[in-house]
Amino acid sequence: MIHFVLKRLASLVLTLLVATGVIFIMIEVVPGDPAAYMMGLSNNAEAADALRSQMGLDAPAWDRYKSWVSGMIAGDFGISYTYRIPVSELVGDRMMVSVPLTIYALILSTIIAIPVGVIAASKRGSIVDTGLMGFAQIGVAIPNFWFAILLVLLFSTSLQWFSAGGFPGWDAGIVECLKALTLPAISLALPQAAILSRVMRTSMLDVMNEDYIRTARAKGLTKRQALIRHGLRNAMIPVLTILGLQFSFLLAGGIIIESIFSLPGLGRLVFQSIAQRDLIVVKSIVTLLVFAVVMITFIVDMAYAVVDPRLREGNSK
């Protein structure tokens, strides 16, 4: 087990290092200058130059790369060009919205998807199965931004149960925040739940044909007992993979939903920073996302090992 963990950790660090190099080079070649952007239509070259040197953009590329990476290792991500505050503070605030939102959406989608998938699998071919999978198909097909707009029109402008957007901040209390995140989380969760329930159903069906389910049945368990005690755990492996992917996707991929609900999340920050050429923020967020994806893969690998003892044993030999 330790060997397995170490190996994964080593590849994690290597991936991150390579990623910073690629990110830095890509950002270097992007056309557009943050200082010129700040000056807008006034096209004031002199002031733009002054601003550029204030931002530290006049240093050679290699020096900037070194100070960027060494800064990050020390926990200093630099100062945002446009906001002029530390990037860590900026990103930290956004994470306080995006991470809870992602977790909220994943919990919702799991709560919906797993029972739906299990029920559909156990009633395979019945009208229940067809109905549930029909809904799932619709869920996959509906664009989440359109669904989000419908939710807002119903629950915010007509019923006025929720506000149409914005985030009160965690100081305002957990209930207020969860309320603000509910509609966005539902909009994000629905298509994810639809995908997840289909994966869950297929995975369950595969498992149901396995020998150990037959053995369990022979031992005297009912179909339901055999599925829940022996089937579910095995069927979870592909579902975990999808969940891991969905987490990384939702973390920054919620930009459209963030815009619709005016949420100060990570996705909108990336988008805005790219538009304003606040490149130091872009670099840091992309690195952070790479880190998050790598970490999630790592955690999912660990979770495999927990649900499937063979993985642990196989690697400790």
Partner: protein
């Protein structure tokens, strides 16, 4: 018992006041920072101008110059020196007493070598700043400058304190009626009333600017009651949805934004005036205004705001006439047409107008290829490197016809006569003379069809009925809240 009633009434009054003397305003673009003296973002002024920061003079909602930190001023007969008499008992939000030295510091900072002021040119004519006493300062210029007084009323020329200037980007400290409270980036910026304000006390206790980028979300946020007003509503396409609802007011005004078909005058075939005239005749302004702006914009025939007192209507010089357009193209030897690229920045007015312009020019055989780009790309390619044929952009600076006197500006209009007119305007001190010169300037660039003159961008204000004192127009980008109140909230 009587005491109890008094107590209750105090509590009750207090509650009703604090409950309703707050206002939430929608803002489409988040300002990058809150220092109006660095960078050009209009969104900065939309939050801070007249609220947090004040200048020596103040521009009001009709574009007039009004006293600001300077209560009155004297201009010498040669119009080269200005003596400003400052308001007494003004303090910055950090408690520092405002002094004439702050004026000197602010202007010197703006014109310094390492200044990052986007409108450094405002301060270029200054030769001397003399502080006579705590409340009197004289500014001397190299020459008479007609627009100097107006210019120092802009956000770029607000008065800052030396102690706090370097932190204004994220913790702005000014002299205005509202103080900065906090900024949840990406979500909202909050201001609170400055109880020590030197002028008339503002009636609002608290102001929240909420950042709502999505145009549809602007609609839902208004309808859900999340915000009280959207001073510059971003979606002309759904304005009509408020018209039938008695709980809202829709006020359509004008901005200082002349929207033009920017044309590269230095590049063939656009260096040929016949081609530019042909294009001018091919443009159907009404179709653009109806199609792209849903009827909410004013046609222009030159680069000048229709609500400016010196404006003349020149839309008749090149009326929509395809026969004349084709005739001009033929005269230029281009009756077979040609291909041109149209580089469009992100704003929705540019994208929508661009589609229609491509169609309109197509009718006279100009094959327009649209290229959508981000602002950073646009600034790089069009503004700096002049690598473009056509573009659509709105020039939102007030009274900015003088950009045509700069031959190195992106559309590359190099005309000595025009440059002389602008120089005369600069040197003139006489209002009637200036007025006729401005008219001459408008006619000159219209006759030369330098750019396609399309329409003046509207300002669409939407607010809950009862919100009073909001600006109708945007002669400069400001949401001055000093006089705003919500009816019934104070009583």
């Amino acid at each position: 018992m009587r005491i109890l009633i008094i107590l209750l009434s105090i509590i009750f009054c207090h509650n009703s006041a604090s409950a309703q003397s707050k206002i939430s305003l929608g803002l489409q673009l988040e300002p990058p920072n809150l220092d109006p003296t660095s960078g050009a973002a209009a969104a900065i002024d939309e939050v801070v101008y007249g609220n947090i920061f004040e200048g020596l003079v103040k521009i009001d909602q009709n574009g007039n110059i009004k006293p600001g930190l300077a209560l009155y001023w004297e201009i010498s007969s040669d119009r080269r020196s200005y003596v400003f008499h400052l308001a007494e008992g003004v303090t910055f939000h950090d408690g520092t007493l405002f002094h004439a030295n702050d004026v000197k510091y602010s202007f010197n900072r703006a014109r310094a070598v390492n200044s990052t002021n986007a409108k450094k040119y405002i301060f270029a004519p200054i030769t001397n700043i003399d502080v006579f006493d705590a409340l009197t300062v004289m500014i001397s210029l190299d020459n008479a400058r007609t627009d100097f007084l107006f210019n120092i009323g802009l956000g770029d020329a607000v008065i800052v304190s030396e102690k706090t200037a370097s932190e204004n980007a994220f913790n702005p400290v000014g002299t205005g009626p509202f103080m900065f409270k906090d900024w949840v980036r990406g979500d909202r910026i909050s201001l609170v009333r400055n109880d020590n304000y030197w002028g008339d006390a503002p009636r609002l206790e608290r102001v929240d600017f909420k950042i709502i980028t999505d145009p549809l979300s602007a609609y839902t946020a208004m309808k859900a009651g999340d915000i009280d007003a959207f001073p510059n509503y971003p979606a002309p396409e759904n304005l009509f949805l408020f018209n039938n609802d008695p709980s809202y007011e829709v006020i359509v005004g004008l901005t200082a934004g002349e929207t033009i078909l920017g044309t590269n005058n230095k590049k063939a075939p656009f260096d040929n005036i016949l081609v530019r005239k042909a294009m001018a005749h091919a443009i159907n302004r009404q179709e653009l205004i109806d199609g792209a702006m849903f009827g909410n914009a004013a046609p222009i025939g030159s680069h000048f705001a229709p609500d400016h007192p010196d404006y003349i209507d020149l839309t008749g010089i090149f009326p929509h006439d395809l026969d004349k357009a084709r005739a001009f193209l033929k005269e230029a030897g281009l009756e077979k047409g040609f291909t041109a690229s149209l580089k469009l920045p992100p704003p929705i007015y540019a994208r929508r107008t661009g589609e229609l312009i491509a169609h309109q020019l197509g009718k006279i055989g100009i094959d327009v290829e649209i290229e959508n780009m981000e602002w950073a790309q646009w600034i790089d390619q069009v503004l700096r490197n002049k690598n473009f044929d056509l573009t659509i952009v709105s020039h939102v600076e007030p009274v900015d016809i003088n950009i045509y006197a700069n031959p190195n500006y992106y559309f590359g209009y190099d005309n000595e006569d025009f440059q002389n007119i602008i120089k005369e305007i600069d040197d003139s001190g006489d209002a009637t003379e200036t007025s006729s010169l401005y008219k001459l300037a408008q006619r000159k660039i219209a006759d030369d069809a330098v750019n396609g003159y399309l329409f003046q961008l509207g300002k669409y204000g939407v607010w809950k009925r009862g919100v009073k004192g909001m600006w109708k127009n945007y002669p400069i980008r400001s949401n001055d809240l000093s006089a705003v109140y919500i009816e019934g909230a104070d009583e």
